[in-house]
């Protein structure tokens, strides 16, 4: 199969900005940039230091995940879901398992349900501590809060390694339960970690949340109103920072979340400081859920009676979870064979970036970095 076609001019015009902005300074931030959280590019037009226009450019990490899944069996895609949002592999796994369990009605045993909640909330802690660290790194506190946050993250990653065999790409969930039970002593170690975590949060809050430089740089920067957020499909802590009370753990009550009592923190101003603080407060609520789950977890099997060959009847499902970044959804179309006909990931990071230009216009370029950091994106999910 050779492609010896002649080199012709492209039959379409590329989109160009209008000439009124020709005198402005055009900077391309990325794809190699210390602060863009991955290979991500923003074409920024500056008037002095103020951002006039900002166009994000995606696709540098596009790995064709959806097409690959069409050629593999359902369970084979599970390790690939780890690599979507590579910070929260357990949450991605659960979203996919949830969608697939809607196709084939497999009851999940109690212990597996509790362990799923524990893993998901530990993932939320991992993600939010990393975000706090990276956010402060973008603000210029050269790495100190980042490394303090990573110290806590390392403990949780050790727990993941003991349970599933891998620190980040866990591949732990299966349709109908989990791959294997946690080893002996794991629950006690988790209880110890959960007991010691508030001290770290207190230390962080004392050091950071009243620091004048952080207040001056993040308050009233990147304000997003609630109505704008709902219309743009923003989900997750970014939505709740704008004051909208929509948390899938309460709305859909998937898994056994309706058995736990926890609150949902809401912001009022919708600026970067609110997004940062909401994540700090959510960590405390996750600790509450973890305490309750670790207290009530029963003994038992961790794998339900899933069919030997996963071959669901023709149907279309959409399963979604509250991943730490937002609503992570999987849309699956089954056609009666062992491979999905259509496999689609609804990426919260990509959709949260819809409003990036609106938030950044009018602020300075330093604020653009801070706003991007507060949106909390992972390029593995944006580009898939």
């Amino acid at each position: 199969m050779s492609t010896a076609a002649p080199i012709a001019a492209p039959p379409y015009k590329l989109v160009r900005h209008d000439e009124a902005e020709a005198g402005l300074l055009e900077v391309s931030m990325g794809p190699h940039h210390p602060s863009t959280h991955g290979v991500f590019r923003m074409d920024v037009k500056l008037d002095g230091e103020t951002v006039v226009r900002l166009k994000p450019v995606f696709g540098y990490l596009h790995r064709n995940h959806e097409k690959l899944a069409e050629g593999m069996s359902y369970l084979s895609s599970m390790p690939f879901t780890d690599r979507l949002d590579y910070f929260n592999s357990m949450a991605n796994n659960w979203a996919y398992a949830l969608a697939a369990e809607k196709l084939v009605d497999v009851p999940v045993p109690e212990r597996a349900q509790y362990l799923r909640v524990i893993m998901a909330e530990l993932t939320r802690l991992v993600n939010h501590t990393s975000l706090v660290g990276f956010f402060l790194n973008d603000l210029g506190a050269l790495g100190t809060p980042l490394l303090y946050a990573f110290r806590e993250r390392e403990r949780i990653l050790d727990l993941f390694e003991q349970a599933s065999g891998a620190r980040m790409m866990c591949n732990y969930f299966r349709f109908g339960g989990l791959r294997c039970d946690v080893p002996a002593g794991w629950l006690d170690r988790t209880r110890a970690l959960v007991g010691g975590f508030p001290k770290f949060l207190d230390e962080f809050e004392k050091l950071l949340c009243e620091n004048e430089i952080i207040l001056a740089r993040t308050q009233h920067v990147g304000v997003l109103s609630g109505a704008q957020a709902i219309n743009a499909g923003i989900t997750g802590p970014m939505l709740r920072a704008s004051g909208v009370n929509y948390d899938l753990r309460k709305v859909d009550a998937y898994g056994i979340y309706d058995r736990f009592s926890f609150r949902v923190p809401l912001g009022a101003a919708g600026d970067c400081y609110d997004r940062f603080m909401i994540r700090m407060l959510e960590m405390r609520e996750s600790l509450k859920i973890l305490e309750q789950a670790l207290r009530d977890i029963p003994e038992g099997p961790v794998m339900g009676n899933a069919p030997r060959v996963f071959k669901p009847a023709a149907a279309e499902v959409y399963g979604r979870v509250e991943s730490p970044k937002g609503e992570l959804g999987f849309y699956l179309i089954a056609d009666g064979t062992t491979k999905p006909y259509r496999y689609r990931v609804r990426p919260p990071s990509l959709i949260n970036l819809t409003v990036l230009e609106d938030l950044c216009v009018g602020h300075s370029i330093a604020d653009a970095v801070v706003i991007l950091g507060s949106i909390d994106i992972v390029l593995g999910e944006v580009d898939r």
Partner: protein
């Protein structure tokens, strides 16, 4: 003719060599201190080649870094102005080295006839100091411009704005000490502090704080390191520099930190004064360096702790807070020095300055503050 040349070299060369080796030590110190603040260890890997000695604590790291800088390829961007690209790091380094000679750093020649030799004991040392260090601004902008890179240009422009605005509080706070002593000569300022240091006076303390903060801004150190903000514009005005030119910039930056801290020590901490100096004159050199390193430790500590200010906040801080405060400080110091009754003037001065600082910082607040959050069930 030759004698004077040798005389000059004998005075200036030791200063240059001492401070260059201190520069190497300071880079090691900075990396270790930052690492410990960040809960890690820092460099400890470089060992003496061909030996089995393992406990170097990373002290050979600067040597390895220097070697690396020397052998790196020198890249000049296509279309950049080659002459300015070469001139900028030289222009950043040479003034810093020149002003080091103006400091009252007593060379440790412990013999009778050369008892307290300063490299360049000029009558208007302080004035010359400020004049020469402002060449740094030009060098930074030259570097940003000559690199033909938008990031560098942005960094250069920010740097120029920052450095020019912080010159005024810097000079005004030094003017307080000059007023108290009545002379611009560094030696006379040090001699006037033989009984008590100027930092122990209220106006001296305020002047020191202003001077210190302004010196952080002059040398582009955190929290004023916007021009080299790594997380936003990669490295700002020295993005396009590699190899030896980068090393020259680095050297120039650290030497200017030494120089400005040296001036701070001279003005506020009494220069080389300290216990046992009368008996052993060479100790004054040790005390001088010790005080400089005390200030450097604080600077490194600040770097590891505090996030960065945005450029408009930085400007507002200089023009709306530091400058009015330094002018007020000048008036207060003048009144205190005229009245000449410490038990009356010191508490009043302290009160006035504290109230002014508080009031000015209140003016900066634009409805920022800690918040409480609602919860939904």
């Amino acid at each position: 003719m030759i004698d004077t040349l040798i005389h000059i070299l004998a005075l200036t060369a030791p200063v240059a060599m001492i401070f260059a080796s201190l520069f190497a030590f300071t880079t090691w110190l900075e990396r270790k201190i930052l690492a410990r603040i960040q809960n890690r260890i820092g460099p400890n890997y470089i060992n003496i080649p061909f030996t089995k000695f393992r406990k170097t604590f990373g002290l050979l790291q600067p040597a390895a870094d220097g070697f690396k800088m020397l052998v790196k390829e020198d890249i000049v961007p296509h279309g950049a102005d080659r002459f300015l690209h070469l001139l900028a790091p030289i222009l950043a380094l040479v003034p810093a080295m020149m002003v080091l000679c103006l400091l009252p750093f007593d060379l440790p020649f412990a013999n009778e006839s050369m008892k307290r030799i300063h490299a360049a004991a000029l009558d208007n040392a302080v004035l010359l100091f400020f004049g020469i260090t402002s060449i740094n601004t030009l060098a930074v902008f030259m570097a940003g411009w000559a690199s033909r890179n938008k990031y560098s240009l942005l960094g250069g422009m920010r740097a120029v704005a920052q450095m020019v605005s912080y010159e005024i509080p810097l000079v005004l706070s030094a003017a307080v000490v000059i007023m108290a002593v009545g002379s611009l000569s560094a030696q006379k300022i040090v001699a006037a502090q033989s009984t008590h240091w100027f930092i122990f006076t209220p106006w001296g303390l305020a002047a020191f704080f202003i001077f210190f903060i302004a010196s952080l801004a002059e040398t582009n150190r955190s929290p004023f390191d916007l021009p080299e903000a790594e997380s936003e514009i990669i490295a700002g005005y020295f993005t396009e520099y590699s190899g030896f030119k980068f090393a020259l910039f680095f050297l120039g930056e650290y030497l200017s930190i030494f120089a400005i801290n040296g001036l701070a020590v001279t003005l506020f901490f009494g220069g080389g004064n300290g216990p046992w100096v009368q008996a052993h004159p060479w100790l004054s050199c040790v005390w001088f360096l010790a005080k400089i390193f005390g200030l450097i430790f604080i600077i490194i500590w600040l770097r590891g702790t505090v996030p960065r200010l945005r450029v408009d906040q930085l400007m507002a801080f200089a023009w709306k807070f530091l400058m009015p405060l330094s002018i007020l400080n000048l008036f207060v110091a003048a009144v205190a020095l005229k009245v000449q009754q410490p038990w009356l003037t010191w508490p009043l001065c302290a009160l006035v300055l504290y109230a002014a600082a508080h009031g000015l910082s209140r003016l900066q607040q634009k409805n920022v503050g800690p918040r409480t959050y609602q919860y939904a069930e």
